[in-house]
Subunit: 306 residues, 2 copies
């Protein structure tokens, strides 16, 4: 089956063709290039929602609750779980089986774990390409769930139209939040597990820190949820809608889509450099030994490889 | 004052000269290149210890306790706190003031927060260069504390001789640990806050998961600490010594130092590509607009910039 057939199938909403098309892009086969070319001009109708936060904060549970809420109003939803590349496992550690089994039989939901498999440009290039596939397949919302925050490549990969940052009570005290760099990336902050002690303090601290920051026309919202029971999810959906309306009204929508494309192109160019370095691994090893032995410095070594 | 004077001062253990030399490298001035060249041949006497883990797990407290323990046996210690780059703050968010004030007046301790300030090669190149400065200044141990795990650039920057991964009870359940990718990077696992419920379960789960993995001659250790009271820190120091002996005996020491150099050279080469992209930002913007409007695909755009 060739790529154009897969794209036609994906456009018709066939889950299997969507999955195959994504695999083809992830594997970085020559087909991938063809697929990306064929999808050029896909104009970004889907709303891309990032869900991020530290491990244990309830990202998968929140994502699952969002999926349920989107489905309840008839939207089709795709979820991309972006795992950091694991050099040992060579793939997504969790896979689709553990998370969100309740949506497994729903044709209006597509779930996929992504892993960086050495494709040119890595996650930062692959994720926007996969978003384009899902967009062309007619999903109304694409939720990108990332493991952790402050992860350069993953962060770029997760460039969303609306970024939701999850924080757990007690983990969200101001210093820890600042440490993880999360204050700068959220459009909507959600204090999850809000039935725990300290939730209100965390909300107050977040609001205070947000008030101190600078915002380009959108003051980030702070909400409380208990994702495991669905409390606050309706309000979260409303907040996402509100942010989307602001994006479109302010022209930020186009800006964010442009940023995602810029990041993707940059990732491809840098991926090219990485590929060049990989191809010259023996030379890099020899130069490293010279540096270790003190006969060369690292700048000189880098010049040899440029 | 020129770079060679600073290097002489640093070699004599002058804190102020060490700090200036590091700033010079971080700023990426032309001096930085000269400094790196002058430090070539610095053969890596210092033991580089990575301390990592999720936010809130007690990294700063553990690092501080390690510093105290190293000092008690007469070792000189440097601490590098590596923060992910913050595009808004443009620097380390915490700074040296908050953490480890108790060591502030100890001449045998050097503490520094690092931030990626757009220097060519970023943290991944700067950190090894700064380690070389500290090494030449005669520190016996260099502790690199990183915020979070699974962060590509920070991870590379933190390439240590011995990697300590901190886990808190309850955060350490197997799936979360696997998610964060931490099982693959630790030489020593420390369940900190071990006076809390679930510590023994976490230790057991970690040991089980480690037993399932593959190890090249070193089976990672799992210890318990309560860093805030110093419980278990002596055992941790013994474990670090043990790992160091294994490194040297097995030849892994040279392998890890070579890996650090390889990563640094690669970061410089990739930094060169990034610098080239920055210099062509207007062109990148124009190409991105073409992609958004559907008249070009991202691979074609990347080729224009290669």
């Amino acid at each position: 089956m060739n790529v154009l057939d897969l794209i036609a199938g994906a456009r018709a909403g066939k889950q299997r063709d969507i999955a195959r098309l994504i695999s083809c892009i992830e594997d970085g086969a020559t087909d991938a290039r063809e697929a990306v070319a064929a999808l050029a001009g896909c104009t970004g109708r889907a709303h891309v929602i990032g869900v991020t936060g530290a491990p244990g904060v309830g990202k998968s549970t929140t994502t699952s609750a969002l999926v349920t809420a989107f489905r309840a109003r008839g939207n089709r939803v795709a979820v991309l779980a972006v795992d950091p590349s694991s050099p040992f496992s060579g793939g997504a550690l969790l896979g689709d089986r553990i998370r969100m089994q309740q949506h497994a039989t729903d044709e209006g939901v597509f779930i996929r774990s992504m892993a960086s498999r050495g494709h040119l440009g890595g996650l930062a290039a692959t994720t926007p390409q996969v978003i384009r596939v899902l967009d062309s397949a007619g999903f109304d919302a694409v939720i990108i769930e990332t493991v952790g925050v402050g992860q350069s490549e993953v962060e770029i990969a997760a460039t969303a139209d609306s970024s939701i940052v999850l924080i757990a009570p007690g983990m969200g005290d101001s210093i820890q939040a600042a440490k993880a760099g999360i204050l700068e990336i959220g459009d909507i902050f959600v204090v999850n597990k809000a039935d725990r002690d300290g939730a209100d303090t965390t909300v107050r601290e977040l609001r205070h820190m947000i008030a101190l920051g600078q915002h380009d026309g959108w003051a980030p919202l702070v909400l409380k949820t208990v994702a495991s029971t669905g409390v606050g999810i309706e309000e979260l959906i409303v907040a996402i809608d509100e942010h989307r309306e602001w994006l479109i009204g302010s022209g930020q929508d186009r800006m964010r889509k442009l940023r995602r494309i810029r990041d993707e192109i940059s990732a491809l160019v840098i991926g090219e450099t990485r590929a060049r370095l990989s191809a010259r691994a023996a030379e890099l090893d020899a130069l490293s030994a010279c540096v270790l032995d003190g006969t060369m410095d690292t700048y000189q070594a880098a010049e040899q490889l440029s």
